[in-house]
Symmetry: none
Subunit: 409 residues, 2 copies
């Protein structure tokens, strides 16, 4: 058999629960999805515990599982993936944090956790005074991220990610960074020193004087959280013998791709928002499928509508994504193994991720049809793929693509 | 409850994918299988990831899993099972290889990887000059196998199976055996020495002079491959408190049975080929079920038709095996726990094993019927047993047989 290429489409937060205002249907059941249903009729469906039953995945841990990694092995915190998302790809052992630019008073009480939703170019100008710092011999790298966010990366010997957040997640006094294990004492000291220095440098910074003159809160401190260590990870391409690429609008998914050694392909109009250009994404995927062995496409819009708790908006987004899948279906040719799934459910009821299993359809030549006629949570639960784990999805697709190794003889 | 006996019927390579020339059906869907369907109606069905989802099993690793062992613990390579297949059952720590009798020129370039498909009695006569060798204090045992094959067993201290193949698998210069881990250096040296000695002894052997006079290529070297170590395995009977037997035509399955301490019952007419006498196999199984607690029957013919890529032949073989199951059903009496399954799929499309799950039916008194009416890949995927792992099959059968231990009180 000729080796086939693989496409995984992740509709972020797609899965849901019964929604009263949709007459007890899920948004995916309520939406008109002729293209998704075509995949269900021509493929086989199932449901996936992306991590394990009842476990609520983040978009980071879930994508790691979908890419075939064990998140319990490679994930210690969100920091490294956020850092890689803005292009700061660390080395094994580097410790990274997400940070907020925030406003504090002289007593270190937070008065605005987002410093008036400051953004570039102010944030870029502010971090420039924090360049080329070393603390206790450790290299300290800061980079601005989207809006009021930044990332902090520590590089040196004897670092640990087992430290608590400085960000109090509320308008109260900032927390001291505490070691959660004895070996993290040095790291905690470095973080506390960094936070103090960020205040000293930023509080008197011309950008903040300008902001105060305009009645805006000064971004006079950086508050780290979500410490994680860059994992010792076998790159995706090496591990799977495929040349892979990822198309995603949101920074976090790009970061995950980069940490896994996958190429991130930027698509004009792919914003990671509700306004994302799904046709541009479809066309980028179709082009990549001719040049790469593996493509993962993430579309965030479903998750955004879910976090907003807006059922009818979620239905509309799903219908737009169905159109995108029609475009992909018509353009892709017959020799692709396609999987469509969610990374986690984000029920309208919760406005947050849940541990419910997500729907999955796998479609390619030679699939034994399972009689499924619709792609939704209930239909997929009756499908021929049964109930599987997130980390099992990629091996199944690799086998369908004629790319699996035999175990034994 | 009276303890019941257990029968597992493994139809080798039975599972398949949708085949275009069968109108998108699998061979098992296309075949007329009234007896297999009887088991489905009267039992419960499911699908099995014999190793784990998407992993392509060999017949060796899959049978180990079906016999309840973890192949990742006990399997290092095919050598030991091939050796045991021809009656050379090693002890824990012995290292065994499969070998080909091959033809090489004076530069050690392979000119015929099968030495003109040499077979017994020539092979038996040739190995006799390699008897009673010792290299570096290690006992070296060689035995002829089917056709152009032989097995090599090393017994002594400090051996390792982490060595590369000498057989280049192509008509090119033979490979040097290399240690894949530092502790395998001695083993690699012994293998290289053995290969040189095999050339020195065989090249001038009267059998080869005779072959050359008849225009046949001389079998002037033995090329080892597939090193594996005899595992430290708890014998099946001891582990499960049952007296078991295996009926199989092919040598490899007999070898697995012997390594697991199971009795291999030879059946006249059970060839391991397409011409195998399925009635003789059925009758042997029926006899054994009166005398043993556990019987595993392997029929290879389905896999052979699959490797040939011949869909209509596979359909016909399945219909013959259905007849065999009719004979077993009529003869076996009511008190047997029967499982029918494949060890792996061998899709016609691939002519090789795939990682697709295999169909399973379990039938005995007291089964909660799941409404299944057919035994095929799609129907079983909807069955009441769900999607399980290969190593879970035996514990389920042992429990149905009233032979399981309680965990807890």
């Amino acid at each position: 058999m000729k080796k086939r290429n693989i496409l995984i489409v992740v509709m972020d937060g797609l899965g849901d629960r019964a929604v009263a205002q949709l007459g007890g249907m899920t948004p995916l059941q309520a939406a008109s999805t002729p293209n998704l249903d075509w995949f269900a009729r021509n493929g086989a469906t199932g449901i996936v515990d992306v991590i394990s039953p009842g476990v609520r995945p983040g978009s980071d841990t879930s994508h790691l599982a979908i890419l075939g990694y064990d998140p319990y092995e490679v994930y210690t915190g969100r920091g490294p993936f956020e850092a890689a998302g803005v292009g700061l790809v660390g080395k094994k052992g580097d410790v990274a944090f997400r940070c907020n630019f925030a406003t504090v008073d002289a007593n270190m009480v937070v008065t605005d956790r987002r410093a008036g939703r400051i953004k570039e170019p102010d944030t870029g100008e502010l971090v420039s005074v924090l360049r080329d710092i070393r603390i206790q011999g450790v290299e300290v790298i800061v980079k601005e991220a989207t809006e009021h966010r930044a990332v902090l990366l520590l590089r040196g010997d004897g670092l640990s990610a087992a430290v608590s957040d400085v960000d109090p997640h509320d308008e109260t006094k900032i927390h001291e960074c505490r070691p959660l294990r004895p070996e993290a004492t040095k790291t905690a000291e470095i973080v506390n020193d960094f936070v103090r220095r960020s205040y000293d440098s930023l509080n008197r910074h011309p950008v903040n004087r300008r902001r105060e003159q305009s009645g805006l809160p000064p971004a006079n401190i950086l508050l780290p959280r979500g410490a994680g260590i860059f994992p010792d990870i076998v790159p995706f391409n090496e591990r799977n013998g495929m040349r892979g690429a990822v198309v995603a609008g949101v920074s976090l998914i790009k970061g995950i791709a980069r940490v896994c050694g996958l190429e991130v392909v930027e698509v004009k109009g792919a914003t990671g928002g509700l306004d994302t250009d799904v046709n541009a994404k479809a066309d980028a995927v179709l082009k990549l499928l001719r040049e790469r062995d593996f493509v993962l496409l993430n579309v965030k819009a479903t998750d955004i509508a879910s976090h907003d708790g807006d059922a009818s908006k979620k239905v509309k987004v799903i219908e737009r994504l169905d159109g995108m899948m029609g475009r992909i279906r018509e353009g892709m040719g017959g020799d692709v193994v396609v999987a469509i799934m969610a990374d986690h459910c984000t029920p309208i009821e919760l406005k947050d991720h849940s541990g419910d299993p997500v729907p999955l359809v796998v479609c390619c030549e030679g699939m034994v049809k399972d009689g499924g006629v619709a792609f939704d949570e209930a239909s997929c639960a009756k499908g021929g793929l049964g109930r599987i784990r997130g980390k099992d999805v990629l091996p199944i697709l690799i086998d369908k693509a004629g790319r699996s190794e035999k175990f034994g003889a």
